[in-house]
Symmetry: C2
Subunit: 213 residues, 2 copies
DNA sequence: ATTGAAGCGGAACGAAGCATTCCGTTCCGA
DNA sequence: TCGGAACGGAATGCTTCGTTCCGCTTCAAT
């Protein structure tokens, strides 16, 4: 085995390695558009057969879990990068922008509940929450008085609801309404009703079969 | 036929008339929670058999259409009531509050596309849009410069995305974030990217089978 | 050249889920 | 007493999907 794997663009294992990322990217696209999409749709989008997919993942749930975990890691990454920014509000803003841009929210929250989470995932979720809360707290002095960290979750949720057929336009529009939301987060009169508690939002992570819209 | 229908709370036709509203209310609840819910779920929620439902509607699509049309009429009604308010911003605010409170948005936009609309529905949709735009225009002087009527659609969309298992709490939280959104609609610096056009938002009314999450 | 197996495509299979129909029953109203 | 409106719910037939299986291709080591 002189070469190990000789040709960089050819060879069986090269193709296989490329399929790894292709399938994952296809899965992200497909499940972002429809979280209930069939597995076959992912394979079709990736331009591979179903076997290529089942060779890599034990089943649909396994793929979903991987996708969700990847999103969670992106979330954490964005938080850590943004935390380096000196200005408190700028750091918070950079973080939220990064999360919205990457469309991470749909991958985590919307897919959560469709599989039983790993312990590692749960730990990462806690870590992600801690990082996000820290960023929020830094920026809080510049927000209206009633703002709480749980509001961040809902802001992201609302941004994820902005969706048109064209993905590029979707991103553009999300920027628009994120700006509005952040402006609303900073100024205004007293907000009606009690703020959301963490408990009220954590139901998303519980296993469920029902498809809320 | 002395009595016509004697006992007000009993009698076959009385029960039937009551089922009319019961089924419609059940359908609203069920399809609000999951627009892809099976017809049987509606019957179960209403506490009736499936026949009782199929006696009233030609099929699932028929029921969906009816539900959507009802929502559209509620939307129009809210707009007309709000239009009577003298203060321009107060009128707009009352309208949006009313629509969010009634959770009309999910009934119209989210259900649109799951059936072929009636001509009457299309006409009502145009009428609804005109009324909403008028309300918007009246309040526009108090908004940030770039605001356009299409923004209203997205604001409602974002409010509809606020959802927790408890319906009462959902309404409460929507009030909270609607307040934030309206504050953001009024003040702030320049918004990024072009505003949405009507054409970009009208795709929702086109027949489709895909379930965008 | 041979060959063993990794990778793979896609048909086939079996389990669900669901809209709709059908039939037997109940009970109002004359 | 009786016709039939209204109904409950099982039965039907179809579609959708996750998963498995079989045979083919391709690569690398011999």
């Amino acid at each position: 085995m002189l070469s190990g794997m000789a040709n960089p663009t050819s060879g069986r294992s090269r193709q296989a390695a490329r399929n790894d990322v292709t399938i994952l990217a296809a899965a992200k696209e497909v499940f972002l558009a429809d979280k209930r999409a069939p597995v076959a749709a992912v394979a079709e989008r990736a331009g591979v057969g179903i076997s290529a997919l089942y060779r890599r993942y034990a089943g649909k749930e396994d793929l979903l879990r991987r996708l969700c975990h990847d999103g969670l890691l992106t979330f954490i990454d964005q938080a850590e990068r943004a935390a380096a920014t000196a200005d408190d509000w700028a750091a918070f803003e950079a973080f939220v922008h990064g999360v919205v841009e990457a469309d991470v929210h749909s991958l985590t929250v919307h897919l959560a509940g469709t599989f039983t989470p790993t312990e590692e995932m749960s730990a990462d979720a806690v870590r992600a929450d801690a990082l996000a809360t820290a960023l929020f707290e830094r920026a809080r002095p510049q927000m209206r008085a009633e703002a709480v960290p749980a509001d961040l979750t809902m802001l992201l949720e609302m941004c994820a609801a902005v969706r048109v057929p064209d993905p590029v336009r979707t991103t553009s529009l999300r920027r628009r309404y994120l700006a509005m939301l952040l402006d609303g987060l900073r100024a205004g009169m007293a907000l009606p009703g009690p703020a959301p508690s963490w408990a009220e939002l954590s139901w998303r992570w519980l296993p469920r079969q029902d498809p809320p819209v």
